[in-house]
């Protein structure tokens, strides 16, 4: 717990000092995307690593947040913050409605249900032209403002996105180290044992699922206001898979892994997009390799190296003694 908070403080310090060294708007935009995807991956990590469930439709919740914010501000001229909040509530509600029947079943029904939701929403985003602008999307989404600041350029939005990211990370640290967080880890290791100790397994899985959808929705709203433009592509199935890959590569049982996996996969595509159609093949291959050789992801590998070094120094000390 204390370790997590000191890491958090270090991250926060880095974020606020970084603009002293980084000047190019391009890097700011990469860092903004790391924050935005990082929020989704954070929620997904709690769902996958702690509650042991898989969602293949988190890009859809991301899209819900983005479209709710866009539609409510453009068509109804609502305050962007209010729109964001309404989008959040609506997305969480949709997640609940989807989760209630599916999480009662054992096995990976949630993966299928979320996959289905993703496909349905993708169709809605594309076909409800009057509402969503169809495949071309919506433009002219107003910028967020607060305390007299308009978050319209990369530099200002960088701070806003990371303040959200740090806040959600803080909340997640709290959760992971709470009674509920423990209960979630218990569920991922043995549902039966967790149940017999009084943990409401289904209800808790549902809550975390809804929570993770909420994180994605917030990320979506920020995304829409950052780019001032939304279209259906970034909310499709492939992005959902990419998000799962970020969780798995980072190490699904660690919040820091979430951040690591996101950073890696957001900065990689610069190289990967050149491979175009092979992009998904590479993600798939990475996923398989990680599952086979490093099921605890990058954080697991880091932990192993640490243990190894620790063992080596201990071994030396023992020899010296």
């Amino acid at each position: 717990m204390r370790r997590d908070w000191s890491l958090w403080a270090m991250l926060a310090a880095t974020i606020f000092l970084l603009p002293l060294f980084v000047k190019s708007p391009y890097y700011f935009s990469v860092l903004i995307f790391i924050a935005i995807y990082g929020m989704i991956v954070l929620g997904l990590t709690m769902l996958m690593g702690y509650a042991g469930q898989i969602s293949l439709g988190h890009a859809a919740f991301f899209g819900l947040g983005a479209y709710f914010s866009s539609i409510l501000t453009l068509h109804l001229h609502l305050n962007p913050w209010l729109a964001m909040l309404m989008g959040l509530v609506a997305t969480v509600l949709i997640a609940f409605l989807l989760g209630i029947p599916t999480l009662k079943l054992h096995g990976h029904y949630l993966a299928m249900a979320t996959l289905g939701l993703g496909i349905v929403l993708q169709i809605i985003f594309k076909e409800e032209v009057e509402l969503t602008g169809g495949p071309t999307g919506l433009t002219g989404i107003p910028a967020l403002t607060a305390f007299g600041i308009t978050f319209s350029n990369d530099r200002t939005f960088y701070f806003l996105a990371w303040i959200f990211m740090l806040a959600l990370l803080g909340l997640s640290i709290n959760l992971v180290h709470s009674r509920t967080g423990r209960a979630l880890r218990a569920i991922s290791q043995s549902q039966v044992a967790a149940g017999t100790l009084g943990i409401p397994v289904n209800r808790l899985k549902l809550s975390v699922f809804a929570l993770s959808a909420g994180y994605a929705s917030i990320a979506g709203s920020l995304y829409a206001h950052y780019l001032a433009f939304v279209n259906p592509t970034p909310f499709g199935f492939l992005v959902s898979v990419k998000l799962v890959a970020m969780v798995v590569i980072g190490g699904s049982a660690s919040l820091w892994g979430a951040l690591l996996g996101t950073t890696l996969l957001v900065s990689l595509p610069e190289f990967l997009t050149r491979l175009q159609d092979y992009e998904m093949v590479i993600y798939g291959a990475i996923l398989i390799l990680v599952m086979m050789f490093a099921p605890r992801g990058l954080t697991g590998i880091a932990g192993k190296i640490f243990e190894l070094l620790h063992g080596l120094t201990r071994g030396k000390n023992a020899q010296a003694a």
Binding site: L171, T180, R182, L197, V201, L204
Partner: protein, 261 residues
Amino acid sequence: MLKLHEISKSFGGVHALEDVSFELKRGEILGLIGPNGAGKTTLFNVISGIIPADRGRVELEGKDISRFAPHLIARMGIFRTFQNLAIFDEMSVLENLMVGSHLMGNAGILAALLKTPAERKEEAAIRARALALLKDIGLNDFANQPARSLPFGRLRILELGRAVGANPVILLLDEPAAGLNQRESEELTDFLAKLRQKQITMIIIEHDMSLVMELSDRVVVLDQGRKIAEGAPREVQQNKAVLTAYLGEEDWVKTLRKPHA
């Protein structure tokens, strides 16, 4: 306080349990014995809500709890251990005990996210209770080790401690002595005797007859899903049907017959 009324359960064509009825009195320790495959563990699974019975009722203080989900059974105060252990391997020993005290808290997911003062207070109480328990079961030195690093005997004790930490009204123990060496087995008997002093009602499934005979107030014998005998340990030892059920399992017959086993 706990009443089983004609519990039946079959898997495919196999009758795992057939019309099993008995009653458990407050503060009583009931030994549940029978040859392998008699349906003992299935009965525990039915009582703890893991598998619903096909027919019959489980009543706690007159309340029908047959259709309750496992976590609601736990809320009623019925906790259990597992024959094959159900330890959370990747958690520390202390955390395992803290999960056992899950029901000491009420804070929901929002309180956990915001770490509200109420949530902090709960968490502190749970930790204090787990630490006290850790001492009781003699695992102080292992508090922060991952549970998977503990030897089997200690895991048994840990699992038992976890269930006890939940403040059980009724405790169901599925072969608590299985896999323990002589010394561990004696420690277990002492620990169970302490629980008995605390008036915790228990059902114990056990193959170690000396342990059953020493601790039980009453014994129920199952064979092929049916109750074939019930009574004081002494009476059951002499029961013809019981001896027949165990026929071919020489060692058991011997221990059953031993007058002061």
